[in-house]
Symmetry: C2
Subunit: 229 residues, 2 copies
């Protein structure tokens, strides 16, 4: 059984991605980051999801938020947008964008993959029902993979190239949910919200909640996760 | 005056790179990493060098070494090779290689650059008198830059592409030293050695020391840094 790294935030997309990696026969090493995000509830969700979906190992890496600024996800002084029309405004990159976040995440995953002798990294980015972040697009993922295969001893000297899997990239949120349900993911233990309350209940109003709720609606399903009422 | 990020380890190459960035008229934000390396003396050197060469700011970021393994630079159980013939063995990547290190370093620099509104990152990699690390080659640096320009809001939406400067990449160690001396770098405050003693004195035997000492010799100069006797 081959080992892989799965980037796991504790949200709906990364939980589905972990389930896909396991279904494809990988032994999964889940990797989560703590980077000053407001939603610590996400970290608890990542731990629950890693255990429930049979990750072999779950590592949480702290990232010093000193290098990030200007994002509502890491700066408590900036408000998370609520009630936006996420479809109409999808051309504009919102204030929840975190500078170079996926590049830092994938770089750690690359180091860990090489250290473990793994050649596969799974990331749950999605270019359809998403918030317009540039580091969620296929051309970005391809460029990262190309760079990675010039970066490491494993790829350059040892004939062990790296592959980045982004199995959700061309799926709608509704399709992602359908895929995860078929694989037995319990979405009740995931946290997608940018601004949950202290108990982890979702706000229902931020971009991430809106996209998630629309996905469940489209599937004719109720979201099993807790929302503030 | 434009701002840039300079990756600063406290060694000879990165000190020279900082001096070059300053000479090119950049306001320099120096970035150093603490990642469980044996040579904490390097961190003290980075702080001295940043101050001496007029960095506007110096940030030290911790990196959890959990993602690294198999490197003699981060694992005290592995011996630093001493007295190797660095020329003859230059085809083989040595045990001092740290998985994906420069990719992680550049990713943090990318995030910080975008946060500060800077478009230039300086890195002192060198593909001639070096240890054969794959992430020190021009094709790797170019691939990183290309990826970076697909990754960030600054590059993709705001018309602020990133440029990675590797001014030492095609220089010999002797040429790097000549360049730095002309710019007034005091190499006595830099630490290059992979295995210095507690006071920061270099071993004179590891690959890094050998390359450095040969560079000074070629210039007909004595290395002003302290060595164990």
């Amino acid at each position: 059984m081959k080992s892989c790294i799965v980037l796991l935030s504790g949200g709906l997309d990364s939980a589905t991605t972990l389930a896909i990696a396991r279904a494809e026969g990988f032994r999964a090493n889940a990797l989560t980051f703590r980077y000053g995000q407001r939603h610590a509830a996400e970290l608890a969700a990542a731990t629950r999801v890693a255990a429930a979906l049979g990750a072999q190992r779950h590592t949480v890496i702290p990232i010093d938020p000193a290098v990030f600024s200007g994002s509502a996800l890491t700066d408590a002084a900036l408000a998370i947008p609520k009630g936006r029309d996420v479809q109409a405004e999808s051309q504009e990159i919102p204030i929840t964008y975190v500078p170079a976040r996926n590049t830092i995440f994938l770089s750690y995953a690359l180091a860990w993959a090489e250290s473990l002798g793994a050649q596969d990294i799974f990331i749950g980015v999605n270019a359809l029902d998403y918030s317009g972040y540039p580091d969620c697009r296929a051309e970005y993922i391809e460029a990262f993979e190309r760079m990675a295969n010039l970066a490491t001893k494993a790829a350059v000297s040892d004939g062990r190239p790296l592959r980045i899997h982004a199995p959700l990239i061309h799926l709608t949120k509704a399709q992602i949910i359908a895929r995860g349900m078929a694989l037995g993911v319990d979405y009740g233990m995931t946290v997608t919200c940018y601004d949950p309350d202290a108990a982890g209940a979702a706000c229902g109003q931020c971009d991430a909640c809106q996209l998630r709720l629309a996905g469940f609606r489209e599937q004719g399903l109720a979201d099993p996760a807790p929302y503030v009422t």
